[in-house]
């Protein structure tokens, strides 16, 4: 297993929770432009990758 990139697991969980809430809320109003199989997963990855280091600090 590769060494961790100094991530606080709690920060990572919070980032996933924020990504999920945002995806549901935005998805209800925007629908297909975000709830499709390319943008949806890309949105999750982007939010987690951007927010996790910020929340870890």
């Amino acid at each position: 297993m590769p060494s961790d990139d100094d991530v606080d697991p709690r920060a990572e969980y919070i980032a996933y929770a924020i990504a999920a809430v945002l995806l549901v809320v935005i998805g209800v109003f925007v629908r297909t432009p975000i709830l499709n199989w390319i943008v949806g997963p890309a949105f999750v990855v982007t939010v987690v990758v951007v927010l996790t280091p910020l929340l870890t600090r």
Binding site: D5, G27, V28
Partner: protein, 291 residues
């Protein structure tokens, strides 16, 4: 058709497959039948060019049409081509399992799938919820999440969660990556992915699948305001597409022809094509550029 179930079942398959299998291949297999075929179902417009199937259900699940993408033999042929091209047994198994899961999952709507095509065009369906793609994307979404289709998605969410260890970092780095080191290694090098980004990429379709369930369900309750109907074959308010009832004797005859035809085809494919390819894949050198 199923919606989030196709993403969520990929984690269930990964969790419960003991053989060496690629998660990315499972996911691709789960998405494959609808990957390029769904656009004309709802209608696609690119500049001045537009295309929409005249009868979406017949185009999507029938023949003539792209219905064969939902047959068992299609998964075998696609996975076999990938095995021939890459000698990667983990990708062969992943694509096969994923595509078969999709074809079987879609038997639960009112149109069903031609599992034994080309030996029979018999559709197999339980009629659990209405096939409503002819209502357009949003009409279909509302019908699905107002019926037992939404319950079916929720069932797969629970099934994925019962194997929660599949979402841990440890599982990802000790099973998912070693099962497919070439592709994960390439993704890491090509895009400079951190471990957090790699795990996020792996978990993304679970989060997306779960979120789209809740988003569409909330939308259909609060904005579309369509009534919930959890009766078999619902919702009652949509003009669902279905095939006329047929005699049991015809059904049994078609099924026997389908099973025998598929069995013989699979045996011949394995005997003369699959086994040599599989043996060659098994003897192929292990990837040297792992993570």
């Amino acid at each position: 058709m199923s919606w989030a179930a196709h993403e969520l079942e990929s984690y269930f398959i990964q969790k419960h497959t003991t053989a060496r299998v690629s998660y990315l291949a499972i996911l691709l297999g789960c998405l494959l039948p609808d990957l390029l075929t769904k656009l004309p179902v709802y209608g696609v417009r690119i500049g001045s060019f537009s295309f929409k199937a005249e009868v979406p259900a017949e185009y999507h699940r029938g023949w003539p049409g792209v219905g064969p993408t939902h047959s068992l033999l299609f998964g075998v042929l696609v996975a076999g081509l990938v095995l021939a091209g890459t000698r990667n047994g983990a990708w062969f198994l992943g694509l096969l399992l994923g595509q078969w899961a999709h074809a079987l999952t879609d038997t639960f709507d009112s149109v069903g799938t031609m599992l034994f095509f080309p030996f029979t065009t018999q559709h197999y369906t339980t009629g659990m919820w209405a096939y409503a793609a002819q209502q357009g994307r949003y009409g279909d979404a509302s019908a699905y999440y107002s019926s037992l289709g939404g319950v079916w998605d929720f069932f797969w969410l629970l099934m994925a969660l019962t194997g929660w260890k599949v979402f841990t970092r440890e599982f990802f780095f000790t099973k998912v990556v070693p099962n497919d080191p070439t592709v994960w290694g390439w993704l890491r090098r090509r895009f400079g992915l951190s471990p957090t980004a790699m795990v996020a990429l792996y978990r993304a379709f679970f989060v997306y699948g779960a979120c789209r369930m809740f988003a569409w369900f909330i939308w259909s309750r609060t904005i579309a305001r369509d009534p919930l109907d959890w009766s078999w074959g619902g919702p009652f308010w949509v003009d669902k597409y279905t095939h006329p009832a047929q005699e049991w004797t015809d059904f049994l005859k078609n099924t026997v022809v389908g099973i025998v035809g598929l069995s013989v085809a699979l045996w011949l494919l394995w005997r003369f094509v699959g086994r040599p390819l599989w043996n060659r894949a098994e003897r192929a050198p292990a990837p040297t550029r792992a993570l």
